[in-house]
Symmetry: C2
Subunit: 347 residues, 2 copies
């Protein structure tokens, strides 16, 4: 098959591994922000943060070559970050032949004023409908860090979408002996699972910094508190996912995704710094001031939940961990977790 | 309050920390196998595997002093391993005044011939009933490693039992600002959650060894596969716990317990060795030939499940990870996980 990956960030680039290793004709297209990355790929055939080089035979394109790159492709992989959602809408989804299916790796949710949380595929479909464009948009969820996928670590993910044939076609193109693909029609369930984990992974990572603050910098004696936080995160995520109408399989994918997020990337680092006692601004400054997607999503979920609470749909007391994260991020609250609020009495 | 802890193993000993720090009169009583441990405690006031010494004021007793030790206590903490279940029945539960409530930390399940899995409290109650003895037996579950509890890491657990007043009394005695206690009447649910996690923690730990076998001894690039296994473990555990009639809170405690078990102790070590390619016998030999409780429990659960499958109550295809663990332990199967069997198609 012919596949175009649009967005040369880490996750888009990582998908080039299974895509190309399956023998497909794979074209990696940078966004206008990715020009240097594409130049680097052309020179080295490697992402600087990946352990191994790309498989041979990939084709790299600058954004101005997009029409050449997507010509004749069977589907497009959307690899932009959540800050590129509107760019992707306007420059790709609106402009490229709508008969070409798209599968997106962008993770997040959008909170509407009424407290509803919708997925990016739904957001894009709503916006496209205003221009009378219909297109098939699928998405990828589940526990997968880009650099470990590139490293060929065994990975379980799910593809979601409305059209079973499209999902099966994309699975056929991408599934390998290390990239294992489930399929589901439950778009909002999978996308919610993927998005909701962010605030919880942050809270779990805080326990590491808290343990260092309270007990010294030992790295090895804080799994009780991590696991206690994981228990509470599971409890709250399941409640939130039920509100979103998620299937049980998507809940489980979300719990797996929570697990990998505690260990991967900058959400973990921010959580540890907050746990050590840094303020949100200090923690972000330590990470070069970059706004993390995961924190944006955490805030959106908390905002939506507060609207739902005002309407009497939820009781915020059922979500002490998410409310804690919200207060740490926005109200300068200390990261020490409200452990007693995680207990229950069913007697 | 006055509390006797019977069994001076790691978990019984760890509970002496919150018990004593709350100002109770705490007596630690060794089993006949614990004489050297008790002698050591009397000399050093410290467990060799714990980072910090016991709080001052604990009283230590050899088993022959048990009647003196339990005189006037408000409750007994049973701290034996699952290999001591019958010893505890015969030497403690049968002989000591049955009006003294007992709370047990022994983790496990017993499989009956018909495929039913019962908790130790239920097993003990059944055996005591044969002698017309009724006694109040509670149990402790949830994510808690002994050495981290002793280190005062924040810990979330649950106590289960039939009598709310007993549970509340024991919680009052043991809960501290680092030991957070939920209460539930769901004995079989909590005890099942605690027991079922063992086989799954083993499977998740296998991914670490598998990654080392396939990709070299790097320690840092195997969280996709761990998380993929965690997702499947969550899926199977939830199905098994539903069969056991567990409440959702106990399911969540079980998922937290799974998390801590992946990081703690010898189940992890055995899993890594199996993943690296060692046979079960070779892996056990590396750990001094000690039979692990966790493996005994895994086998019991697998055996019970096979009986249930013969009766048509379950389909073993829904439990590919547990069946894999069973075959690795007992049939010499290679540890490589059946990743494709973890996928689903809901389209």
């Amino acid at each position: 098959m012919k596949i175009a990956i649009i967005g040369a960030g880490m996750m888009g680039s990582a998908l080039a591994f299974p895509a190309r290793e399956n023998g497909n004709d794979v074209r990696v297209v940078g966004t206008p922000l990715d020009n240097d990355i594409i130049t680097g790929y052309k020179k080295t055939n490697k992402h600087p943060k990946f352990e191994n080089a790309f498989p041979s035979g990939l084709k790299f394109y600058y954004f101005e070559q997009i029409n050449e790159a997507v010509y004749g492709v069977d589907f497009i992989i959307g690899g932009v970050s959540s800050f590129g959602v509107d760019w992707f809408l306007n420059e790709v989804l609106m402009k490229i032949d709508p008969s070409i299916p798209v599968i997106s790796v962008t993770k997040g949710l959008i909170n509407l004023e009424d407290g509803t949380l919708i997925s990016y595929p739904e957001y894009w479909e709503r916006e496209l409908a205003k221009h009378n464009i219909t297109r098939d948009i699928c998405a990828i969820g589940g526990p997968c860090t880009s650099y470990e996928l590139a490293y060929h670590d065994q990975t379980e993910v799910a593809f979601c979408g409305k059209n079973p044939n499209t999902l099966k076609m994309i699975k056929k193109a991408l599934a390998t002996d290390y990239y294992h693909v489930s399929l589901t029609k439950d778009v909002i369930g999978l996308e919610s699972a993927v998005a909701l984990k962010n605030g919880y992974a942050l809270a779990i990572a805080m326990t590491i910094g808290l343990c260092q603050r309270n007990n010294g910098m030992r790295e090895d004696l804080h799994f009780n508190s991590q696991a206690g936080a994981f228990y509470q995160a599971t409890k709250e995520m399941r409640k939130l996912l039920r509100l979103q109408g998620a299937t049980e399989d998507c809940e489980n994918m979300g719990i797996g995704d929570l697990y990998v997020t505690v260990y991967g990337g900058r959400t973990r680092l921010i959580g540890i710094l907050l746990g050590q006692g840094l303020s949100y601004d200090e923690a972000v400054a330590k990470l070069d001031g970059v706004t993390l997607e995961s924190l944006v999503v955490s805030r959106r979920v908390a905002t939506a939940l507060k609207v739902k609470a005002q309407k009497g749909i939820v009781d915020l007391k059922d979500f002490p961990m998410l409310m804690h994260v919200s207060e740490v991020l926005d109200d300068g609250k200390d990261a020490t977790l409200p452990w007693e609020s995680f207990t229950f009495e069913q007697v």
